[in-house]
Symmetry: C2
DNA sequence: TACCGTTCTTCTCAGTTCGAGTTTATCTCA
DNA sequence: TGAGATAAACTCGAACTGAGAAGAACGGTA
């Protein structure tokens, strides 16, 4: 039994059962209107051949820095990504070989390039979240936590702007909500709401150079406003129980 | 440099710089209408004599179990507490002696007994959150994260019912919001809202045996309903920027 | 015992927001 | 040139919110 007191007295930490601390990153982006997650294929046991979230050991760095580094190693240069801590998973037995405590992170980015830029990440690829099941370790749970967090944060933060380019149309923003929520908001009400929430978007004055592929007028271009939270919130039609 | 590949090949984990994993618990309760947090006084360096959040090493148990165990050691038997994971803090240097990654937990409980029941927790005590500054390590940050989480969760979950007894009055529930938000909701509107949100509370049919200390009619008694989220939410007057 | 102040509970009412649908103008493609 | 599609604005009833007030029940005190 190890008490805090022993620890504070300078008890040699190497005498304890070793614990490894890693970060796992749930990276989401939208490609062709479908929400995708970045996964890597495992080469070794356990779970060889299975898909897993990218991740790795925490070094002499903050947890945030570790997550950013792992992400950069998988995807090459990172444009502007939103990164936030999600949940920490540490059940004994989640890795069959030793105690591993994993700090999960959630990242959002606008249409990232195909991975395979980094070193040991040749097997990394984007997978539609609907197809991302049967992942290694407890990564199904981690991904589920990330998705639910993303869905909830769209409601009360301007997070959707992290999925689109610097300048975007209201329709593109609506596409983010559609992809993440799996349900298309009412176009007219969405438009009214986005423009009425203070600080959500700001008008650039410019418009797109042409209309939509199937017709329609040119649409106005906006950029992200300064708000950190949306007030009032943009609620989804059917909030999840849980 | 330690890569994931080396780890997966069975690299000896004891060769790594040791990392300790602990849990710290932000335990909140309301006493005499004031929000209190459970703190312990540190006996040793560093931060000897300073107040800190209770916490300790994670053993052969899940993180949730570790948090519950630490809480039980500080407060004795636990009636019904709500416990949830908060954030993980792992900056290098947050503990001056070695790398410590702390998984912070948030606990809510109805008027807990005075601590000093457990073993090494003779110095544990309830402190009004307004007085809980200058804590050891980075516990000021941890506490701040816990408070903001608590404030936000009162809006969209029935968490307030975790602060009161099994049977409670609307006024007692309103007292929870007042203590946590630092602002008293409009009594009439609060009453209407609580009764209108499905699953927040259910009527017991009973009333209190006498009126308030300074007069007023007996009030009806309710118990917590089955809802996990409040819809529509009970928004605070002035949501925080951040 | 009668009264006063307090509190619970319900009600009122105007302003705001929301969901659903419609209208108008603009644009692409055939 | 016409058909279909879309952006943006508008309409309207329902629902919700904030602020205040009314009525009833109760504890303490004169």
């Amino acid at each position: 039994m190890v008490t805090e007191r022993e620890f504070l007295d300078g008890y040699d930490p190497r005498a304890y059962p070793a614990v490894a601390v890693t970060v796992d990153v749930v990276t989401l982006t939208i490609r062709d209107g479908v929400l995708h997650v970045l996964l890597v294929e495992r080469g070794e046991q356990p779970f060889a051949g299975r898909l897993a979230l990218p991740g790795g050991f925490v070094r002499e760095e903050t947890l945030d820095e570790a997550a950013l580094r792992e992400l950069a190693e998988e995807t090459g240069i990172l444009p502007r990504v939103h990164l936030e801590q999600l949940t920490t998973f540490g059940d004994p037995g989640r890795d069959p070989r030793m105690r591993v405590v994993s700090v999960a992170y959630l990242a959002f980015a606008p249409r990232l390039p195909d991975p395979n830029v980094g070193g040991d990440a040749a097997a990394a690829r984007w997978v539609p979240v609907g197809d991302a099941t049967g992942l290694a370790f407890d990564h199904d749970r981690v991904l589920a936590a990330g998705l639910e967090r993303a869905r909830a944060k769209l409601e009360y933060t301007p997070l959707a702007t992290a999925f689109v380019d610097d300048e975007f149309t209201i329709a593109q923003l609506r596409g983010v909500y559609t992809a993440v929520w799996g349900e298309e908001p009412h176009a007219g009400n969405f438009h009214r709401k986005v423009l009425s929430v203070p600080g959500f978007v700001e008008d650039t004055g410019a418009t797109t150079s042409r209309g939509g592929e199937r017709g329609g007028p040119r649409s106005r271009l906006y950029r992200a406003g300064g708000a950190r939270i949306l007030h009032p919130a943009l609620l989804r039609p059917n909030p999840q129980e849980q």
